[in-house]
Symmetry: C2
Subunit: 303 residues, 2 copies
């Protein structure tokens, strides 16, 4: 797994590395063992999830959980659940009938390494597993709260959240979108799950309603910044650095922030969104340190 | 929607028709409206779910709920959830990378009527929606019980349940399976969700643990009987009667009860499983009337 750039504080680097290692361990434990039947399916699920990815959503969940004084063992479970939902969406998104991508997280995509039918089932299996974890482990003192958390993830993942964003994305190929249309697509496609990651981490602990609204505001901006940076990196980076096929969106004639605004203006927009995100955290003072550092990490990353 | 044969009692026919109509109404209400964005996705989700299907799983949930004195408004929600999971699995199963089927419930399959990418997202959207419903509506007096119900559905749907069964199915194409291997495949592929339908319906109400175990026993046998009958119908029926492509399993060289046992022996096995299922209900007396009638319906149906 690649680490953050030298630009980040040693304390954040240390925190991020500890949580990456922790996620790898927890995900490895939560996924069905590779020798449990059906073995090929379980091996493919582990292949899809383990040993790669920036784990932005788990990091956000952990940082929001710290802010809300949540038990780390609880946050661990929601961090797994959001990462499983994210990974299932990548596996399905990479299929030939969608983006038809052969490289992901520096490795052959699941349908290339295994086969298409297995990749379809891997996504479906990870999807169910995410909800199984959220329901099976104690996450909140009040079980009604925990049911709300399950519903929150389901809405964020569903047809009016992430899956809806992918449908909008499909419909936009080859079309000229306006900036608000592009933003609406990303608010659903990546923004919904990023917001859910922050919310679920915070809901494992205790936070006043106004503070939850502030975090949601932060999450909305950081979700958008994440996507703008993704478009910038896709436009300028080589495939080797990115760990996935670079320059693909432009070739597929997909609208991106770069195609709409140009490279420099897109970079400026990402910075502006980062500032808006960090401004939303102001009332928390130093307690929001990790979330601010993740905002920097998202905008300044090179992969 | 086709009705049951004349062989069933008028009271059961009436009950089944009322619950079919009720399911159509509730599913129509629970699914996102066709004019909500993304419209094409939501229209395709409604196309996949509404206006077809035997709704065996909802009927089982309602009948088990009646036995357990559950509020019908609660059972309605779990009936929707299991039907959404079942439908998502059909939509994904029909995709070209899986069974590559063009006809389902008497209509063109979703990827034929819309396109492959939309069908993939329809399945994913229905999958999330099922968990959203289970978490969002009050289903049990004790919210801990409701969390257990969410986990139960997730396990039944996941890689050690339904999705696992599909993986075993994939791996079995062109292989000669033994009867126990074939049974293990179906215990996962269709049995897990049928058992979950009975369990979830019952868990909406009150039932002693020993009674829940009896119901589970019934559900296991009836799930297997359902599959045996499916194989028999596939072997003998025409596509028009069946509403899906007939004779396909044999052509794809998939192992079936008929290919393994022959038509007559498979019919005998279905009857035997029906008797085992009904025997498990004996202690309930007349309270289990509907479940017994569904067992008859499953084994004696012609579609």
């Amino acid at each position: 797994m690649s680490g953050p750039d030298a630009a980040f504080s040693p304390a954040f680097e240390d925190w991020a590395h500890r949580h990456w290692a922790r996620m790898e361990e927890v995900l490895g434990r939560m996924l069905p063992a590779p020798d449990i039947s059906p073995m090929r399916l379980h091996q493919a699920m582990r292949y899809a999830v383990l040993g790669g990815g920036k784990r932005i959503r788990p990091l956000l969940a952990f940082a929001a959980g710290e802010l809300a004084d949540a038990h780390p063992e609880r946050v661990e479970v929601v961090a797994c659940a959001v990462e499983l939902i994210h990974t299932y969406s990548l596996v399905h998104d990479d299929l030939p009938c969608m983006d038809d991508d052969v490289l992901r997280r520096g490795k052959p995509t699941v349908h290339v390494e295994f086969d298409e039918a297995t990749a379809l089932l891997v996504g479906d299996g990870l999807h169910s597993l995410a909800f199984q974890l959220l329901a099976q482990y104690p996450l909140a003192d009040d079980p009604h709260r925990q049911l709300e958390m399950v519903a929150l993830l389901a809405v964020a993942a569903g047809s009016r959240g992430m899956v809806g964003g992918q449908a909008i994305d499909l419909a936009s190929v080859g079309r000229q979108l306006t900036l608000p249309e592009l933003e609406s697509m990303h608010v659903h496609k990546t923004g919904a799950l990023i917001r859910a990651s922050v919310m679920l981490g915070a809901l494992c602990g205790r936070l006043a309603e106004a503070d939850v609204a502030r975090l949601d505001h932060f999450a909305k901006f950081i979700g958008l910044a994440f996507q703008v940076v993704d478009d910038v990196l896709d436009a300028e980076a080589s495939t080797a650095t990115l760990g996935k096929t670079a320059g693909k969106d432009a070739r597929q004639n997909k609208p991106t922030y770069v195609s709409l605004l140009g490279l420099n203006e897109a970079r400026r927009l990402a910075q502006e969104m980062r500032e808006d995100a960090i401004a939303a955290l102001e009332p928390f003072g130093d307690r929001a340190r990790r979330l601010k550092e993740i905002a920097d990490f998202i905008v300044l990353r090179r992969f």
